[in-house]
Symmetry: C2
Subunit: 226 residues, 2 copies
């Protein structure tokens, strides 16, 4: 599904160069449930942003479904992100003026071929699955940290894309709620063959991962498959 070759990312900060990724080679197959782990600042979010086509690498190539991302036009990239990718951001990135329901519904609005009644069913089902049925009409400012995080999760899952990138999805959740959310993801992975790549510090997520990739200082230090 995904192939990364020689990926480097160097942030330019005035005169200073900050190397966030120093050469990453990685292959991800369809249906994987993989976790990227590593210390704070090791490059996990940078890696997920590159795979999620939200940023471009300084060096190296990325292939999504055998298509080289760099060679895609802006329109093709937008279509790829809309239909094939779901992103759960570390900072949630919810739209403050929309309710939880509207934030999740918006992700489906961009699909022009789904009927209204089907959209409503899918949005309600996913909000219920992450435990937010009673908070559908709260805006982000009227939700707790972990509730906002779950809206961000619901918004990515409702699209049922090929690949979901989850950046620290359980950081603000207690262990029971984390398990409920992970169970929803495992079910999607098993029933729809949805590929999941997590960035996480949460040992609970490691237990669910079939494969653990350890990043240290911008490089892959270790890989383990369970």
């Amino acid at each position: 599904l995904l192939e990364l070759k020689g990926i480097k990312k160097i942030y330019q900060q005035g005169q200073v160069e900050v190397p966030a990724l120093r050469g990453i080679d990685l292959t991800i197959h369809r249906g994987e449930f993989t976790s990227v782990v590593g210390p704070s600042g090791s490059g996990k979010t940078t890696l997920l942003n590159l795979i999620g086509c939200l940023d471009t690498p300084t060096e190296g190539k990325i292939f999504f479904d055998n298509r080289e991302i760099e060679k895609l036009s802006k329109e093709e990239l937008a279509l790829l992100r809309r239909y094939n990718l779901g992103f759960i951001f570390q900072e949630y990135n919810l739209i403050p003026v929309l309710s939880a329901y509207e934030n999740v519904e918006l992700a489906l609005r961009l699909f022009d071929d789904i009927k209204e009644i089907e959209v409503e069913k899918r949005v309600k089902n996913i909000l219920e699955a992450v435990g937010l049925a009673d908070f559908a009409h709260h805006t982000p400012g009227e939700l707790s940290g972990g509730q906002q995080q779950r809206v961000s999760i619901a918004r990515a899952l409702v699209k049922e894309p090929k690949l979901i990138l989850a950046d620290e999805p359980t950081a603000n959740l207690d262990s029971k709620t984390s398990e409920e959310v992970l169970e929803v993801m495992v079910e999607m992975n098993q029933q729809l063959d949805t590929t999941f790549i997590f960035s996480t510090h949460d040992p609970l997520v490691w237990d669910y991962a079939q494969r653990i990739i350890t990043l240290k200082d911008g490089q892959i230090a270790e890989e383990k498959s369970s």
Copy 2:
């Protein structure tokens, strides 16, 4: 140091009432190292915001150093927050245009009796203690999630206030970095008698806490002292 009597907080959401705290009685003594735990949405942030004088309860009284918070004037409240309280926000709340160094320094700038050279020393020391010496000149947008969180921690600690309220301070940190940050807090607690109240889902923080208060659905369900 702190006394809460019959505290209730009901959020008004249009016509709907959302009870976040349903009657909390709590006494916190000087020098405590206490954790508030509970599921996502149970009322932890709401409780910390009330203790931190960032919000007012719907019902009940709060006493800080035997002074009733509600009876204080706006100026007295601001002075109390400036000199006696440090707050580590769940969403960090850093100032985007300022560097890590400037965000931390700003907290000390409000103290008019500290010399320039002393301010510089304290800011540098605390950034080093949380592992961010090399990132002092990055703005929040140029920092990872966990690095931003540590700036927010440094900003509260540098003030050396009587009470520090830490809302999920390790949510985006790996376990090694979490331990380093907790060690800094334990040292402040032992050397300066700084009182710490945490809100957390992180089992690692529970191990450091002398007292654990469990919130469920807006009420104290259990209290344990180790």
